[in-house]
Subunit: 356 residues, 4 copies
């Protein structure tokens, strides 16, 4: 094709996050419409046939068939870039093989998060960790986005951490159904109910947030040492993770200073990354916001819908700062996070045009 | 044991209907607490570990392990009576083998509904069809209860059919999540949604209702010939199927006569069947009833909770009679239906104390 | 202003339908952004402060204050066109006074539906009834759109009625929460529940559909005489009324003919009405569609989102045609319906630029 | 009457908490079936006509009419005991007048919580505070139960506070719809949503819990000084408030010691209070409990259903103890709490048989 967009593929395209990848990449300015790759369950079907999102499938891809293609075939076809929406466990070996074959992988799976040479990345928070990614000389990059709850949390915290120097951070989540994928949570388990358990989630939130908020130290990350104490709970909303956050602060900045820290935060403003929201944090003044139903799609410009983190109900009663943060689990905390990571890598000159 | 209750087992005890069987049989006056039998997924676990109902598991059975027992083992243990909550497809061969080994089977599965020698039975409606059941001389009985939507429909229609002599019957359902078992309907499929499709359901409602409302003719049933035209829809309620019914009537009885037909209907009043509700049809006068939340557990005495069918919003504008009917899909339309069938068979002297 | 769009106002702008009017009119090509008028409860507040829809308020109107303006003040300001989202009862006298003062009114309220000189209108179905609207010589037009359930029903039926010549039409509804406005249905009334009662709804569906599908006869409408037998039920969805429809047909067209009747139906294609969907009926082939969650916003072009009626699960077993129809209750069945009516009147030269 | 049960009345009997009072008092061993008193909205109607709970109204009271009776009339009728389910604001003056007329009041309203002479009471936690209640010599007692979230929290914390000596207590709530009464939360506000705001709730949880967990000091209470930092959120469940609790501990008892503290806790065991659950804290071992749907009705014996607090998912990673607590907001946190308070007062000889 004559356009100079980078070719790419989505593996795990039949699942909930995979479909968000397809939606985001169907008409991306820098990446070409993706090959859609799936396994036994969805392979061979049209995207429209497996579609689970409430909004209609993207016109350009709806009729595409999901392909059953392994890493070798993808490399052979010259695909330089793969977005991985595979379930954890399945993702690991396949992603490693892709990387060995020179294909760069941006993954939503947990398998390689913060593995050596595979940074955990949220561009607004730790763009400098991209440098930790190994790659080149026949090897693709491997970059991961964090757990869906950690993603929103770190964007909300990053602007104010320095001013607060926390002694501890407490977070309780109100996580949407789509966080469990499809079919995911049985309706009988959640109708008229909430479930105070999501396997491994509290550990991921604590560990991954600490790494994202940590400092690069040579080839490694020195994780934040502040305890992050989490309760993770599933509620009956479709999309959008709400988090109740309390920061036990050591310092006492003014309320104005805190608010300004949030509203002026925009570390990516100088870059032109298509999926980056400006501002990344939307601060709401209403007494009852953020709400999943109303704020899940926050983010401007239009391409960044669902990428902003909404912060509200800020209550600063030193030493405790309380607020709520809301982010779209499948966009900011999933497919959108990885697309933004790839945009950053492309901008940084780290993404070759063909398998290296 | 010294008590003279009939021994029994529940096959498919790990599923939603199986658990309702366990609940109903844990302290039944005529049947002993059941052996709980399950397959690979649940076998070996305690009932409490697989329990899915909102109410707590019955004290006497909660700690019982689900056994992996085949038909031969059940017959060898001398179990004369099996309640089948197996999924359709699996149920067929296993139920046939039990019957061949002299064990009587009362089944909620679709496989043998109205098969030769295996009547489809709702005691208030067609108790006389029990005579169609083959059995004896080394062969167990095989009796089925109908589809969960048909069960409520026929109880609601039986009292008034004669007076109306319908030209056609129209029914639209509002079916609860538990009708699909567990895990059943994914929460993402039904939250803020209704789904106008349940596989084969409309056909079952029409066919099974016609048989239940039909007349015995020698060794067969002459099905009702009135067209039953159904729409079947899943909504996001936990339990209780609501049905909007319109009868296009050929006759024009008075509204009082119709109401009296419903309120005086109690064909089982002379028998003492433990699970039979008296009255079987509860007629409500409020403008906005029946409702799944409030009426699903209708039925007195206490043991018959969930067995009554609630009828309300009766609008008789000849030639169209409109009303709503509500019944508990997993009790009247599932486990309770089969237990009542077995009580009828026992009362009728058709249930031997050991595999025959 | 230099643009030649027609000035307008929305009365009842603080309510759910009023907000949909604001959304549709914020950047309309033929109507200027509306004055927003409200009563005691919302008057004086900004639109953003009373906003109830899930999507954000339209940028151009969000900061506008809702005005407390009576009919006289509206006429004095020279507003030629008012969209009425007032509750029934309140609407009647106010709309009449507006009309007397020369202001044309397009109303969603029930008070004047099919009153003499005030046609009930769905442009795809009975555009010729517009001629019944009195107006001119100092008097504004008064045109109403139907009840939200009737609106979807008649669009779905219109294409096939001629081919079927029905003996009766049966409809059961699955109506969304927003049909009751805000605050509307208490959450405790509907969580894990459905409610088989909506006051006067069944009567409205029957009466209004009969008129819309009727024939103009001089200065009157000869209503369709086919019985329309309705059950109306509230379910727990946010937006989008689903309807299960059975037509008892006198004729037996082929299934292909029926399908073609729906897919080729587009009586407004020659006009350029901004809010008219093309096609007005979307026919879906999937076994489980239409669904409120997925199909409520059907309608192309973009300005006609929520205006198409989706038809699916067509089952033609003569003499019974069964199908499901879904339409957005607050758009096709509410604000969008009235906006389309006004577009038709403007196109027909019936809307003067100032109060007449 | 010949039975020696104490006469009583429920004011505010038409509301959600009032109906739980009616349910609990319909057949109480020490209190006679209550007079049901209501205001303009419900007065004159039968209890059955205003009934909002999912379970059926109590047989003995369903047909009773709600009376419009003021304090003077209640005193004149010789009613010695009133349970108040009035909304805050309305409750204050009316309760004061009752007390002045010698009628004892046990109130669920916020107006007098911890007012001088009107103790805030949860018998398992601070039974000794009953002594703070003024009363006698022509004056009735005035005793209040706390906010619905505080009630569950303090029962869950009381057993382990001594062993932990907390530096701070963090709680995030998942509060049920019924906490807002009826009509309460509009369905459009909460369907596919959670709302991170309940007016004054966080302040109440902190203040009332501190008082309940405080020590009596002469005629006053020395409130607990440990900060209680709360986030209060409404979710879409019908009944049962879930709370995520983190205790930042100063001491490090063993996990066994903590568990034992909970399971052996039963300070009321020696008293025979009809509504007291034994044990008051149910500790669950499953990884995903407590859940509102399954644990809201915890509590033995049968009369204490809904009075136990369920604790689960205990994670003790010093210095942070995390767990979830669940209690029925309208029983333990509402009507049941006040009934238990009255039982304690009766047992303590503080309740005279007639207005004093």
């Amino acid at each position: 094709m004559s356009d100079d967009r980078l070719g790419c593929a989505v593996v795990g395209a039949g699942g909930y996050i995979g479909q968000h990848f397809a939606r985001l990449l169907a008409d991306h300015p820098r990446f070409a419409p993706p090959l859609l790759v799936a396994g036994e369950r969805s392979g061979g079907k049209r995207l429209a046939d497996v579609w689970q999102l409430a909004e209609a499938p993207p016109a350009g891809l709806a009729e595409e068939r999901l392909l059953r293609l392994g890493p070798a075939a993808l490399a052979r076809r010259g695909v330089p870039l793969v977005f991985s929406a595979l379930p954890s466990g399945t993702a690991g070996p396949l992603e490693r093989e892709l990387v060995r074959r020179g294909v760069s992988v941006f993954s939503n799976a947990a398998d390689h998060r913060a593995a050596p040479g595979a940074p955990l990345l949220v561009p607004e928070v730790n763009a400098d960790h991209l440098a930790l990614a190994r790659g080149g000389r026949g090897r693709g990059l491997l970059v991961t986005n964090p757990n869906c709850s950690a993603a929103g949390l770190v964007v909300a915290l990053a602007p104010v951490l320095g001013a607060l120097r926390p002694a501890s951070i407490h977070v309780s989540t109100y996580q949407a159904l789509s966080g469990a994928g499809y079919p995911g949570v049985p309706s009988l388990a959640i109708t008229d109910n909430v479930v105070p358990f999501i396997r491994d989630e509290e550990e991921k939130v604590a560990r991954e947030s600490s790494i994202l908020l940590g400092a690069r130290a040579g080839p490694q990350v020195r994780a934040l040492r502040t305890p992050i104490v989490a309760h993770c709970v599933r509620v009956g909303t479709r999309e959008g993770h709400l988090e109740a956050v309390t920061v036990h602060a050591r310092r006492r900045p003014s309320g104005d200073a805190l608010r300004r820290a949030w509203t002026t935060f925009d570390p990516l403003r100088a870059l032109s990354l298509a999926t980056a929201p400006h501002p990344p944090v939307v601060v709401r003044q209403e007494p009852d916001r953020p709400q999943p139903l109303r704020d899940r799609w926050a983010g401007t410009p239009a391409r960044a819908r669902g990428m902003a983190v909404t912060v509200g109900r800020i209550r600063w009663t030193p030493p405790y700062l309380r607020f709520f943060a809301l982010s779209h689990n499948a966009v900011r905390g999933g497919a959108g996070g990885s697309v933004l990571n790839a945009e950053l890598a492309l901008e940084a000159g780290r993404l070759p045009r063909r398998p290296s």
